[in-house]
Structures are given as structure tokens and as C-alpha cells.
């Protein structure tokens, strides 16, 4: 089991990435290929006792920044770390790629080099957004902004396989994020998607509302990436705002140690992705995981462990099978509905 890691990604740069992957190698998670500027990676590796570990370097040249347009970055920097790392998966030299760098660049590299699974136009990003429902997969979180109803059903399949094989939930419930819990409450997209979900053969429980996201009423919450991205960022923003507000409004009542502990607890509720490591790009024809730029060594090692699990359970094949089954169910049923 070999994981290629983008050594240049992440807010803290190569030192943290190398630290995390050395940790993963020590824990016996996987063989690691560091992809990055050779001298930079060598310098970082020399800080650790890594000689006996299954760690190698594949050199790359530069990185695609968060601020760059991903497609343009790919064209202008064909030797950038994420491109070279993803290529290792394509050529079979690695089983998975992990990056804490630009989500856009990781996705663009995956789409161009690995392609998408039949039935998926563009990969989705999914994961928990609230610490009180840490195993809830919400998708899409931002890569598909305009979605046809059938795409939403596709997200249901992607989330379902994620939930089953990576989170070990046996019969995960799928909900559609909408404005009321009763059937029929929602916009046109939701109403049409509801009809498709009902004949999809998936474990569909109907609508869930904004407040249901915090209680984990559904294991998988399906929404388009426009709504998903807004709810994710709102949750993060509310966490920091509530921390700030409590620290200020309670400063006469609680001391600064307790205020700091409160802030840490609130952060856990509103930033579960940090604890989670990284999530697979869902719908890519190969294992590519992207994590939060803020990830520290434990999260990086956790991401490598998730990548390993995804390889072991044959994640891509599971998605392909389930997706093709669902799509054929929808197509078979079609004539009856007309």
C-alpha cells in the first residue's frame, strides 16, 4: 500500500506534511512517496529518523496555490507537486494521493488525470460539518454549484458508499436538505429529486431541515454545492463568533482559562473536518483525498490512514457498482412514469 503525499500543500508547508507522513510511516500505515521540491523535502526529512522507514521522494517543481485558478495552474505548472503526485496514482506507482493543498487543484488534477466514474460529471466533496454529528456526510460541499436532480441522486450513492465502507454505518439513511420536513416542501430541484430518490432503491428518508444538520437525523445529507458550501462556512463562522461573544460577555464571570477551554470545545463542534483528517474526492476514478490546509501532523497521519482504508475496501469499485445499479434502476423505471 503506497500513498503519494503532496509535500508542498497545507498552510504550514512541507515541515508539517513531512512530520505527519513520517508519523504515518512509523505507525505502519503505508509506504509514503513524498512529492515536492527535492531539496526542501530532503531537508525536512533529515530532521527525522526516517532512514529505516518506507519513505521515498519523487521530485516535483513548484505548487499550485489556493489563490490560482486550478485549470490554469495545471496548464502553467505541469510539474507542480499535486500534478506529479496524482500522476503516480494514474501510473500505478501509488494507490492513493493525499493533499492538504488547494482543493481546486487537487480536484482538477484528479479529473484530468484519473477521470470521473461513469455517471458523475464532476466529483463531489463530502464530510461532516458539525461535531455533534461527526459521522454525518454532507455533500456536495462546494464543487457542483448548479445541480440537476439526477446529480443529487448520484451524491446520495457516493455518500452512501462513503458512509458504509469508510464509516462502517450498516444501512445509512439519506436525507435531502430542504425547508420543511414534509414531502413536497422544497424548491423545484428538491421536488424533482424526491421523485427520483423514491424509485432509486436507496435508503431515502425524505427531507431534512437546517436544524437537523446538527442532530445527525440523516447519515447522508444531500444538497447542491452552493447550499453545502454556504452551510459549511456559516457553521465555521458561527463557531468563532460564539467563542468571541462568550469570551467578551462572560469575562466578569469566568476566568480566561475557562474561556479558552470553552473556545476549544466550540471549535470542536463547528470544525469537525479538522479532526477528521481528509475526505476522498467522491466520483473520481481513483483515490484522491483532500484535507484542510490547517491540518497538523495527527490529521495528516489520519488522512493517510483513511487513504489506506479506502484502498483496502476497494472504494472506487464499490462506488462504480452501486452507482451503475442505481442509474439503471432509474432508467428502467422511466417508461412507467411517463
Amino acid at each position: 500500500m503506497t500513498v503519494a503525499i503532496d509535500a508542498m500543500g497545507g498552510d504550514d508547508g512541507p515541515s508539517t506534511i513531512v512530520e505527519g507522513s513520517v508519523l504515518a510511516a512509523k505507525q505502519g500505515k503505508a509506504n509514503i512517496i513524498h512529492v515536492g521540491d527535492q531539496d526542501v523535502v530532503e531537508t525536512e526529512l533529515s530532521k527525522h529518523e526516517s532512514e529505516s522507514l518506507p519513505i521515498t521522494i519523487v521530485p516535483s517543481n513548484g505548487k499550485i496555490e489556493d489563490t490560482e485558478a486550478p485549470a490554469l495552474g495545471l496548464r502553467q505548472k505541469p510539474k507542480a507537486s499535486i500534478v506529479v503526485a496524482t500522476h503516480l496514482v494514474k501510473s500505478g506507482k501509488a494507490d492513493a494521493v493525499v493533499s492538504m493543498g488547494s482543493t481546486g487543484a487537487t480536484m482538477a488534477s484528479a479529473v484530468v488525470l484519473l477521470g470521473t466514474i461513469h455517471g458523475i460529471d464532476r466529483p463531489a466533496i463530502g464530510g461532516p460539518i458539525v461535531g455533534s454529528a461527526p459521522n454525518q456526510v454532507i455533500l456536495d460541499l462546494g464543487s457542483n454549484l448548479d445541480c440537476r436532480p439526477q446529480q443529487l441522486v448520484g451524491f446520495g450513492v457516493l455518500g452512501s458508499v462513503f458512509s458504509k465502507v469508510l464509516l462502517k454505518i450498516s444501512d445509512p439513511k439519506i436525507g435531502l436538505l430542504s425547508v420543511g420536513s414534509e414531502e413536497g416542501k422544497g424548491n423545484t430541484q428538491i421536488k424533482e429529486a424526491t421523485e427520483l430518490f423514491k424509485k432509486s432503491g436507496l435508503n431515502f428518508i425524505g427531507n431534512v431541515e437546517g436544524n437537523d444538520l446538527v442532530t445527525g437525523k440523516a447519515d447522508i445529507v444531500v444538497c447542491d454545492g452552493f447550499v453545502g458550501n454556504i452551510v459549511m462556512k456559516l457553521t465555521e463562522g458561527l463557531g468563532s463568533e460564539i467563542s468571541k461573544y462568550l469570551t467578551e460577555s462572560m469575562k466578569e464571570t469566568i476566568d480566561s482559562d475557562i474561556a479558552a477551554a470553552l473556545s476549544r470545545e466550540i471549535f470542536k463542534v463547528t470544525n469537525p473536518a479538522a479532526a477528521y483528517g481528509a475526505g476522498p474526492l467522491l466520483g473520481v476514478n481513483g483515490i484522491s483525498l483532500v484535507g484542510h490546509g490547517r491540518s497538523k501532523q495527527n490529521e495528516i497521519a489520519g488522512a493517510i490512514a483513511t487513504a489506506k482504508r479506502a484502498v483496502e475496501v476497494d472504494f472506487i469499485n464499490q462506488i462504480q457498482k452501486r452507482l451503475s445499479k442505481t442509474l439503471s434502476t432509474l432508467t428502467e423505471n422511466e417508461p412507467d412514469e411517463r
Copy 2:
């Protein structure tokens, strides 16, 4: 200045509504017409020293429940409190109507009896959703689920007038809720609305993101009612969840008094509407305010005060003027754009 209040609305029923409106009458806010089942309202009024106050009763028969389909409720219960109360505005016997009952029934009554302002298909509901930005108007919060880009510009006008004349913000900034702050980031609806906003003559500042809702980056945040309703309910849900989580996780560190104080503070951040009283239905051709079912006497008196202010500043006329100016700007510019 006379306000008709739906005495049967609200989670706590007539006793709380009557209590709140007696308070408003004592404060000299307005003449009050209680609309409700006569014996019920008389019984409640008899509990207060209200003889010398400008309070009258107009009898009605029954109420439309939150659980009823509003349009059906209107047909089946033409003498229901909200219908009779709205009728008083139509006939000029009251200047405004206030209800803490079913939002749907209040809106349906307003649309059927008062009509909408030219250029508005269906009224919007707007207000703050986060206590840290208490004067931010987010709209629509749930009545318009599928919106054309021009409707979003209409919301910008409604929010702008609300912000200027009721919240006294001199040149309120309008933002579009989207997935990135740069122009061009968003779904098709947002991209098209951006083009319209740019030529609208409104004080448009571009996109705001989910996390910007908590800081009040824009005075008015425009979104369709689908997104607005989800973010509003998520905010409320996160507030209760964070309270619960902190009370549990910090129970060894903080005593129960402090935990209760924390919960109250968090509630303030995530439920600003409770403090706010009620908001006008935006785009209705008459003053109709709907507030939270949970409202207590102070919020009810506050809602009556808001109704009074709306009458005094000639709220409806201001909206009509601004809307017709903006719509004509968009129409004038149209040929140049093709």
C-alpha cells in the same frame, strides 16, 4: 395610529398576546384592536386594568393553525382571526396588522386581501438571523423558494428600504450570498443576478459568504428563500446544540448557574428574531407584520412599536417608489446589454 393584532396567534395563545398589547397601549404605542374569539379576548382583557386604554375588540371565529395549508385555511375559515385582522387594514379601520401566528396564513391573508406591490410576485420575509449582526437584514427567509435573478434584485430593494427607514442605516450595503467573495463565484442564478445588481443603481457590494453572515459584512444579504430558510434554521439549531454540548462537556469545570448563563448568551447570538419582535412582510401592499410564535409580552409590544414606525415613515410608499425606480433602471439598460 391603530394596530390590529391577531389575538389568537402565538405559541402561548391569547393570554400572552393580550398582555403584550396592553403593555403597548400603556406605553402609548398605538390604539389596539384585538381580533379574536370575543369571550376569550374579554376574559384575558379583564385580567388587566385596561378600561382607560385605547383598546377595542373585533370578534372573529377560530384560527388558522401552523400545521394547516395556508390557502386552504383561508378558504375554510374566512372568519379566522388573521383574516379578519388583515381585513381591517384593507378597509382602513387599522393602519397595520401584527400576528405571532402562522407565517403562511399571515402571508396568504396579506396577499389575498392587500395584494402585492407592483414588481413583486410574492412577498419576502427578512430580518437578522445572528445576534452578532442584529441589524443585518437577510432575505428571503423562506417564502420564495425558486427565484429568478430579477426577484433577487427586488429583494435588494425591499431590504434596502427596510434597512434605511426602519433600521436607520443611511446607505445600506447589499451583498449576494454565495460561495466565494470574488465576482463570478456562484451558481447561474448568482451570476445573472450580479449583472442585474451592477446596473441597478443600488449600493451593491458583490458576494458575501456563509461566514460573513455572522460579522454583518453587508447590511442586506440577498438569497432565495430556500437558502435563507436553511441558514436560519441551521443557526438556531447550532445555538441549541452548542449550549447542550458545552453544558455537558464542561460540567466538571463550570457550575450550573454559569452553564445557564452561557446558554442564554448563546441563545441571544443564534435567535436574534426573538429580541426583534416581528418583521414586516416585504412587498405587501399594506403593513402586515409577523413575529415569532415564541414571542413574549415585550416582543409583542416591540412588534406593535415596529408597526407604528412603519406607518409613520410611510413604509409602503417608500418601497413602491424605490422599486419602480430600480425596475425602470433595469429595463432602460436592457437594450444596451444586447
